[in-house]
């Protein structure tokens, strides 16, 4: 199995090093990714909901039917 590494450059010396991640760093990296996946899922769900709301507002405008306040808010500045 390939070891995970990080590329480190010391700005005071210019020396570059490739350092293997510690078990703690790997665990933190996995925890960060899991937490970010939750954030990203929420962001994508919100974006999809907004897109659906806009599509509904557009369809109602074309059909000449009343919009909900939420739908109107997506198109009125």
């Amino acid at each position: 199995m390939t070891k995970l590494t990080k590329l480190v450059v010391d700005c005071s010396t210019g020396i570059e090093s490739i350092i293997e991640l510690t078990d703690a760093e790997i665990a933190q990296r996995e925890a960060d990714a899991a937490a970010y996946a939750v954030i990203e899922a929420e962001r994508e769900a919100a974006a999809e909901a907004l897109a659906a709301l806009k599509a509904s507002a557009k369809a109602k405008l074309i059909a000449g039917t009343p919009l909900t306040a939420e739908e109107a808010a997506t198109i009125v500045l």
């Binding site: 590494t5 590329l7 010391d10 991640l21 990714a33 996946a37 954030i39 974006a47």
Partner: protein, 168 residues
Amino acid sequence: MANTYTLIQSVTVGSGGSSSIVFSTLPNTYTDLVLKISARTNRSNVTDAISLKLNNVTTNQSSLYMESTGGVSNSGTLSTIRGQTCGNDSTSGTFGNCEFYIPNYAGSLSKSTPSLGVAENRGANAYMWLVSNLWNSTAAITDIEIINVNSASFLQHSTASLYGITKS
């Protein structure tokens, strides 16, 4: 107005890839920093998200973002510093570009770190992110680690360059 733009260090990822890129022991002699990143990750996606770990922590971060694929646009908030690059499903040979501007990095006020990033892709979608990032800390920034929030790794030829800006 900046009157100098000095390269502090530039690094390129080698053949083995790298999970992150770290600039350590930053000089405190500049006014601002500019971090320019050209990167591609091994994530199986057209786009990929990067972030910054400042002084080895990811706490007290927040951001306001606007994103667009060129067809669909969205905006919102996140609890991380956010930048953008491309994953391994982007057109072969393309690298995403992202820039962070970090004013007053050595000062004691909260650190704004705005970013502009794109996931280069010669396809239907090209993801663009404009982000107002904040690290709410009074500590001077001494170390910057570019991390991938999806647990992917930076591929060979990815580069990161850190510049120091001195105001006139």
